[in-house]
């Protein structure tokens, strides 16, 4: 069974306002404002175009950023994705 792929909620559903180390995101369907801290804004940007599974997302992020020790990077990424999904900012396809 293929790993689930994730995609950011459509651009028309979100208002994104970078602040400093936090980014504010207004989620139009719920009317809720979320405060995101890294790596959530970066994940959201990486998932803005094509859907990616956790492994592909990890690869994409490590091309752009230095993620440090590999460790349980994929597990942490899945935890981050779960938070973004719960807020409606990322969806599974």
């Amino acid at each position: 069974m293929a790993a689930p792929r994730y995609r950011a909620a459509g651009a028309e559903l979100l208002l994104v306002e970078p602040l400093d180390m936090f980014t504010a995101v207004f989620h139009r369907p719920s009317g809720i404002t979320h405060l995101l801290t890294e790596p959530a804004p970066q994940i959201l940007r990486a998932l803005a175009d094509a859907p990616l599974d956790a492994g592909a997302l990890l690869a994409r992020l490590s091309r752009e950023f230095d993620l440090g020790e590999p460790g349980d990077a994929e597990a942490m990424l899945l935890a981050r994705l779960a938070e973004l999904e719960a807020a409606g900012l990322v969806e599974r396809v």
Binding site: L15, E17, L19, D20, M21, F22, A24, F26, R28, G31, T33, L35
Partner: protein, 281 residues
């Protein structure tokens, strides 16, 4: 209702109805220099609860377009306070034309300082002191930020001074009666000066955002963007209800206006800090 009056404060018209004449008389006296409302955006109703309570141990239930079921009634002697609380309630729960911030606002020329803080942070007293020094008083309970333009619109209601601040009442102002034994202690309402009332339709562009704290050693700290934005959402009584225009208005305010946290030990130090920050803009 048996007794009623209307009044306008900035862009908002109120109709106030009462089962007793006293509160209406007190409102009309305090608001004698204010225009009547051509259109009532909100109704405030000061009600007796049970019909016989108009005479027997009269106490006022605050009602209106919006009401709080658990709000405790006030004694008839505090009718003016009930009317003021009633107006606050309508604004806090019903106003949607502007983003509301718990803040006082003063202006010089066409630019304004927005001072955000909870009751007791000193924003009312600072506003009063600055108004004494030539700043235009635009309000001390609610700052009205127009989502379309980002301008602050005046909402110059009378200031309610409490306890120690009562000593600061400027001479020559229209005041309400001294109300003792209220839930907040002794209170007296003081109308703004006539120039401020006359200018109630003139908006100003926010140029400085202050988060004052009274009673601490003098300190000034610029606010980082995220902290400023979150504090603004916490200071807004209608942020959730405003939805997207609220988000846009507060992100714009945060982006366009310098934000500073100011601690000050006393009124004079507060004034000095404000004037210094303004001069440095």
């Amino acid at each position: 209702m048996r007794y009623r009056t209307t009044l306008r404060v900035g862009p908002v018209g109120f109709r106030i109805g009462s089962d007793w004449r006293g509160p209406i008389a007190a409102v009309e006296a305090l608001y004698r220099d204010y225009p009547r409302a051509e259109f009532a955006d909100f109704s405030v109703r000061l009600e007796a609860g049970q019909p016989w309570r108009r005479w027997l141990r009269p106490s006022i239930h605050i009602g209106g377009d919006y009401r709080l079921p658990e709000a405790a009634p006030l004694p008839l002697a505090q009718g003016l306070l009930a009317a003021e609380l009633g107006m606050n309630l309508q604004m806090a729960l019903g106003h949607r034309r502007h983003v509301l911030l718990h803040a006082s606002v003063v202006a010089r020329g066409d630019r304004a300082i927005v001072m955000s803080g909870i009751s007791g942070a000193g924003k009312s007293t600072l506003a009063l002191l600055l108004a004494e020094r030539g700043w235009r008083f635009m309000g001390d309970e609610f700052a009205l930020i127009d989502p379309a333009s980002g301008l602050a619109f005046p909402f110059p209601r009378p200031v309610s001074l409490k306890n120690e601040s009562l000593a600061a009442i400027p001479a020559g102002r229209v005041t309400g009666p001294l109300l003792s034994g209220t839930p907040k202690g002794d209170i007296r309402h003081v109308a703004p000066d006539r120039a401020a009332i006359a200018a109630m339709d003139e908006p100003a562009r926010p140029a400085l955002l202050l988060f004052p704290r009274f009673g601490f050693p003098s300190a000034i700290r610029p606010l980082p963007p995220a902290e400023c934005f979150v504090r603004l959402t916490q200071a807004s009584t209608n942020y959730v209800a405003m939805g997207e225009p609220g988000f846009r208005a507060l992100t714009r305010l945060r982006a366009e206006v310098p934000a500073v946290a100011v601690d000050y030990p006393d009124g004079e130090a507060g004034i000095a800090a404000v004037e210094a920050l303004w001069a440095a803009l």
